[in-house]
Symmetry: C2
Subunit: 419 residues, 2 copies
């Protein structure tokens, strides 16, 4: 494996090629996104039909391209990040005005080598992300979400505790940095950090801080489900969150945050829905070998099942650490987590979704969404009303008992020899 610091440079070079390339081993690589791969390789009419099947477009609804401000486009080309904007449509209602909000997601790679002084690493990320936030502000974004633990490399693969030094209190340096921008752009910002809880014995949490559009801190949510899979050694660093499933009522709608691995838990998505979320963000850090085929499935399923919008964010790039580590897979030690494949995107409650951002490059994805669509889909499909929650409250209560017996009906002829 690549244990040098040039992984990022290589990926940027690969990304510079607009279309897919074929590697020496015959595999396709270097393409920007699934959408781009299909668009570049299918006739337009076939691409349209594939899109209808895959991402629910042209199926009653269309996805509109939203024009971008020139200043945002200038920042994008000057600072070398992608910017894309779409608009989900909803029916016009008779008694409610449309409630269109503009929502943004930012995905980014780290900046300095992980061997650089910690504070330099953090501030370099701040400075890299700032023009992306400026572009969101210039584009009139109302609610913006950054990626999981955006202010640091995703160092939890290493199991080295020194990375805890990067943790911050809820009102720490990264929050303050974003509070100024939130106020400047009248924008709600979701700020996922590694949290140091000074009031509770300096414990560590994986936390999203919700910053209001006046720069105030509305509240926080702590990651509910912690992975123990592959190199995701996060359970070495912090415990399951203790903040329940809060929904934050902001100036632009009711939002919630399902952090990373929580996306594998349908009950976590459900609880945010029951508390009234209209948009649930899923700031993540996940790698291709492990999860790429799951990535578009889980967020879209959550949007469909819970009649809300989902904004999914994954970081990009390969982060190489100073000291190699093993992965419990019998392979030799190595110093990186694998490739974080980006692919941030939005899913809507009507089963449609936007194309994804690049698998390689930093990017800002913007989407307009009429929050009225949530209730329209509830009325259409009636999932909440047909859900029979009483069955499941009882089922879970039974399941929790140590002597729970599953409901199994055995074939009485199970051990009869076949004639």
């Amino acid at each position: 494996m690549d244990t040098t610091q040039n992984g990022q440079a290589k990926e940027e070079a690969a990304a510079a090629a607009a279309a897919a390339a074929v590697a020496r081993d015959g595999t396709v690589c270097g393409y920007e996104s699934l959408d781009r791969l299909l668009r570049d390789n299918l006739r337009p009419e076939v691409f349209q039909e594939v899109s209808r099947l895959l991402i629910g477009l042209n199926c009653g609804r269309t996805l509109e391209a939203v024009p971008l401000a020139d200043s945002a486009k200038a920042l994008s080309s000057e600072c070398n990040f992608d910017i894309q904007a779409f608009g989900f449509t909803a029916d016009k209602e008779l008694l409610r005005e449309p409630r269109v909000v503009r929502v943004g997601l930012i995905q980014n790679s780290i900046v300095l080598p992980t061997t650089a002084p910690f504070l330099d690493q953090k501030r370099a990320i701040h400075q890299k992300v700032k023009p992306m936030i400026d572009a969101a502000g210039a584009s009139g974004v109302n609610i913006l979400c950054l990626q999981e633990a955006w202010m640091m490399p995703f160092a939890f693969c290493t199991r080295e505790k020194r990375w805890c030094e990067l943790a911050e209190p809820v009102d720490g340096e990264s929050t303050r940095f974003l509070q100024d921008l939130a106020k400047k752009y009248n924008m709600v910002i979701v700020n996922p950090i590694l949290e140091r809880d000074t009031n509770h014995g300096e414990t560590i949490w994986n936390t999203a801080v919700i910053i209001g559009n006046h720069g105030n801190i509305i509240g926080k949510h702590r990651k509910n489900h912690i992975p123990r899979v592959g190199d995701f050694n996060e359970s070495t660093y912090y415990m399951e969150g203790n903040t329940g499933h809060p929904v934050f009522e902001t100036a632009y709608g009711k939002i919630a945050v399902n952090i990373c691995y929580g996306r594998h838990h349908p009950l976590n998505w459900l609880a945010f829905g029951l508390n009234g979320a209209e948009i649930v963000f899923n700031p993540s850090a996940t790698v291709g070998e492990l999860s790429e085929p799951m990535w578009p499935i889980e967020a879209r399923n959550a949007a469909i099942a819970n009649s809300y919008f989902v904004g999914s964010i994954n970081r990009v790039g390969t982060e190489t650490f100073p000291n190699p580590f093993t992965s419990g897979d019998r392979k030799p030690q190595h110093a990186d987590f694998g490739h974080f494949y980006g692919s941030s995107h939005f899913s809507a409650p009507d089963a449609s979704c936007t194309p994804s951002l690049s698998r390689y490059r930093d990017g800002l994805l913007i989407s307009d969404m009429d929050l009225n669509l949530c209730r329209q889909l509830k009325d259409k499909w009636g999932f909440r009303m047909t859900a029979r929650y009483e069955l499941y409250a009882d089922m879970l209560a039974q399941y929790l008992k140590p002597d729970f017996e599953p409901q199994v009906i055995s074939d009485p002829l199970l051990h009869k020899k076949s004639s």
Copy 2:
């Protein structure tokens, strides 16, 4: 809309064209499946990468093509139905032998016009499906599932109660027909019927009867969640099931049945998982306009989240009824439900899935699956252990109270005017 009886003939003609055609309005139509559309229109190396992203293949695992018995192939060409077979792979374990079972799904259109005498309609379907079951038997299928209410047209759009005459007791004509075949082929058969419950006031249920490999009836499950969407007027005919979430321990593994609309309910999928299901079938009847972009998402999400296999079945064809009906969408009356788009497929707990059967033609889809894969994925991802069910048992219990207050944290500056 087409109110004649020739809808099926037209679809069969369209299906005869192997590759996609472009209709007069510029849309692509007549293609067999998404897999075929992509395979026919992409270079092999691009198709391979798209498959990796979309259906999780080549991502650590591959899907093997399984050779078919000549007698099965002969039945397929003689009786004009597709037959495809694949095999999911699993790791070899050190302490358990592989538990490979061969599982089949059958999708089919109806046979006679819906104006024909009821008994003729039912028996014509029996006779059409028989060679498909014979082909499954000749292929060594261990567990076979038919589509929802396979013994009748999906007449619930009409709201006419006379279709209730087609309902049968659990041990009725269609069950007896399948019991003989189950015994003959030493095969478990899942038999989804419209049930007449003679012991409870002759009420109607949407039920799956589980027939053991000795031809015995192991038990039944009644559809838990009933739709009220589009033309799905099933709630006019029967109520929510009262059989819980049973898992049937058969000679070939633990199976359960999530009937049709229950697939939109993550809790329904979850409950079958908590009761220990290794394969959950989803016999369905659903139409393109309404649900096609959701179809591959929900089943795969269930397989991932619950670490089991899913077999999804949808009927094919357009069924035209004698008396037109309206749809509550302000459009003129019409006499069909729309196109049932088939596309039956299997999903595995590792996020992979098989290609789908045709959108137009009858078909038998077979897949080998090593049930050991379920526990392997549980050990890898740990979803059960990280699920925190106690949080959700409590959440649901609270939610059920009429005076439930959602957990909402409001921005105290919500009504402050922006500076």
